[in-house]
């Protein structure tokens, strides 16, 4: 996920660097306030740990290996603020000494790996931990948190790279940096992460946290309970940002409509026909096909569909909660 120099234009690099500075400032302040003085060396040593963790190859099904980033892991072990600083430090050394990741794109790499992964991962983990009583539920939350966090970071990386043809072109409109549009860059970043790196990250995080919890339970960072307000803010931001999907013209890999699959190009040849099972198969007459409503501009339709999706999820979640409560009441009555 390390973006080298010249895949992003200088303008994007500057924007990403400005975006990550508040995260560093808040983290540095929070660490200075929270961390006892004798733990100051832990930042540097945590960075060394984070650097080494990125070098470990995790076996994934199929006999191959994948690297873990360990962002959620560090956030759970050291706290998200210390993890942000530690991972940034590790990334700086990778860029300066080992040429891994660019110098101008350092801000973007820090945004994806040192800000998104630890904060999002820790937040989802904490949210699950505070609401689930059993150890198993907590670990499930941790696995999901690390899987989502690394994939979200990959998505951010895909968007940053995929925006280049739109924001930086020469006089003839030809791309000056990474030439791939969002419709190529997002699937190219996400598919390997969804299929391999995410699984490796989740398994790795889970196994190490379980080991440390067993071997030395006091060593795990105990933060304050997660607040739900930022989650609502994030959901609103995502709804508003959902028209970004419109920029990614074309279908995502594997999400073609039956008519579109005819023109899918594989190995230089287009398919040229619609698989019979798809043509005649079951088709659900969705009211909001392609996330749009008839008679509405596309962008508004997108926002409305995103809001609808969230509302449906919240209703389903609350109904499920009701079921659980009912069971608890029954159990209490049976006990009495």
């Amino acid at each position: 996920m390390h973006i080298p120099d010249n895949y992003l234009g200088p303008a994007t690099c500057a924007v990403m660097a400005v975006a990550v500075v508040p995260a560093w400032v808040v983290s540095a302040k929070k660490v200075a306030k929270e961390l006892p003085r004798e733990n100051i060396p832990l930042l540097g040593i945590g960075a060394a740990f984070s650097f080494l963790i990125m070098m470990l190859n995790v076996p994934v099904p199929g006999g191959t290996t994948a690297h873990a980033v360990g962002g959620t892991l560090l956030a759970v072990l050291l706290g998200p603020y210390a993890a942000c600083i530690s991972i940034s430090t590790a990334l700086l050394i990778q860029a300066l000494v080992f040429g891994d990741g660019g110098i101008l794109s350092f801000g973007a790499n820090c945004f994806n790996m040192a800000f998104v992964i630890p904060f999002l991962g820790y937040f989802i983990y904490k949210l699950a931990k505070d609401r689930v009583r059993s150890k198993r539920g907590e670990y499930l939350g941790l696995a999901i948190a690390s899987y989502i966090a690394i994939n979200f970071a990959a998505l951010c990386g895909g968007i940053e790279v995929g925006l280049q043809p739109l924001v930086a072109g020469d006089a003839a409109g030809l791309p000056l940096y990474c030439p791939y549009p969002l419709s190529v860059s997002i699937p190219a970043m996400l598919i390997p992460h969804l299929a391999l790196a995410g699984i490796a990250e989740a398994a790795f995080t889970l196994a190490i946290v379980a080991f440390v919890a067993k071997a030395s339970p006091g060593s795990i960072y105990a933060g304050s309970p997660a607040k739900t307000k930022p989650l609502y803010a994030l959901i609103v931001a995502l709804i508003v940002a959902s028209p970004l999907g419109l920029l990614a013209a074309g279908s995502a890999w594997g999400e073609w409509a039956p008519e579109a699959i005819k023109s899918v190009v594989t190995g230089g040849k287009s398919l040229g026909f619609v698989p019979a099972g798809m043509e005649k198969g079951f088709r659900f007459p969705a009211p909001m096909r392609d996330y749009g409503l008839k008679g509405l501009p596309d962008i508004l339709g997108y926002i409305l569909s995103a809001a609808l999706g969230v509302a449906v999820f919240v209703i389903a979640y609350k109904l499920l909660g009701l079921l659980k409560k009912g069971k608890k009441v029954d159990a209490a009555r049976a006990g009495a």
């Binding site: 080298p4 120099d5 010249n6 895949y7 234009g9 200088p10 003085r37 004798e38 733990n39 100051i40 060396p41 832990l42 540097g44 040593i45 945590g46 960075a47 060394a48 740990f49 650097f51 080494l52 963790i53 070098m55 470990l56 190859n57 995790v58 076996p59 290996t65 072990l77 600083i85 430090t89 700086l92 050394i93 860029a95 300066l96 000494v97 080992f98 040429g99 660019g102 110098i103 101008l104 043809p165 020469d170 003839a172 030809l174 791309p175 000056l176 990474c178 030439p179 791939y180 190529v184 398994a203 790795f204 196994a207 190490i208 379980a210 080991f211 440390v212 071997a215 060593s219 230089g268």
Partner: protein, 279 residues
């Protein structure tokens, strides 16, 4: 071997037949090579960090701060440039710097730059298929030049002088200290991790069905060790009257070579502006 106690000595009992019988054991081959891969990557990093400790590296006679600024400037200008003319000038400047290094350093820098170039080519080639490849040589050239500038800087600057450069540039002390400590502990904890990986590799024969749990033990132990190391480090610092200030000792002054580098930087900046106007 003590006298009279040879294999045929009177005290020696016969080896029982069941022990003498040979038992063929062929461990089932394991597909996952994650231990070897991790160990190799780790040893490569350790070797890079410990390279020629204490000896004067190429380019060490330059003050590290202008070197760092110059590297950043060249990478920025290369990234900003929109015409091939400036890239040619930047290539001349960088190759000029490269030719001042020693042969083995040049070989190492070129290996790294070549790897970056091949990676860029592999990533960018499919753009031709999409009809977006017109600027491909230009983009690849930029990637190569940025990688070359970074590689020249990192192979011509030892870590302590890099930390000194950051300190000269008024980066807050606590960051410089953290960076310095990170590099030292990558080396120390890396050696520990290499030992753990070796031990695990020696003890796992045949197919290992518990790869993940062994890896968790490894990384978990590493984490607990780093916590101990952090506490020990703080205590040691406190014993030496550490008060949170990190002073760089022996900050090098600016010499004639540094002046030449600054002049070259100004020239390349002027060329960038001129090339931009000419277009």
């Amino acid at each position: 071997m003590p006298r009279g106690r040879g294999p045929s000595g009177p005290d020696m009992e016969e080896i029982p037949a069941w022990l003498a019988a040979s038992e063929p054991y062929e461990p089932r081959p394991d597909r996952g090579r994650h231990l070897e891969k991790s160990l190799l990557a780790l040893l490569r990093v350790l070797a890079a960090l410990r390279e020629r400790p204490g000896s004067v590296r190429d380019g060490e006679r330059l003050n590290p701060a202008p070197k760092l600024v110059s590297t950043f400037l060249v990478i920025l200008l290369v990234s900003l440039s929109r015409g091939g003319l400036f890239l040619e000038a930047a290539a001349v400047f960088e190759l000029g710097c490269l030719c001042l290094l020693r042969g083995e350093t040049i070989a190492r820098v070129l290996r790294r730059v070549l790897a970056a170039g091949l990676f860029a080519l592999a990533i960018l080639l499919p753009a031709y298929a999409l009809g977006r490849g017109a600027n491909l040589p230009f983009v690849c050239g930029k990637v190569l030049l940025a990688a070359l500038a970074a590689a020249i800087f990192s192979s011509a600057t030892s870590w302590p002088s890099m930390a000194a450069a950051l300190s000269t540039l008024r980066i807050p002390d606590v960051f410089v200290m953290t960076l310095d400590m990170t590099v030292k502990y990558i080396s120390l904890l890396g050696a520990l991790l290499a030992d753990l990986l070796c031990a695990l590799k020696l003890r796992s024969v045949g197919r290992d069905g518990q790869k993940l749990s062994s890896l968790a033990g490894l990384a978990g132990t590493l984490f607990l060790k780093s916590k101990d190391a952090a506490l020990a480090q703080y205590q040691a610092m406190e014993c030496r009257c550490f008060d949170g200030r990190y002073a760089v000792s022996g900050r090098p002054g600016l010499g004639r070579r540094d002046a030449a580098l600054v002049a070259a930087d100004l020239a390349i900046l002027a060329f960038f502006v001129a090339a931009g106007r000419a277009r």
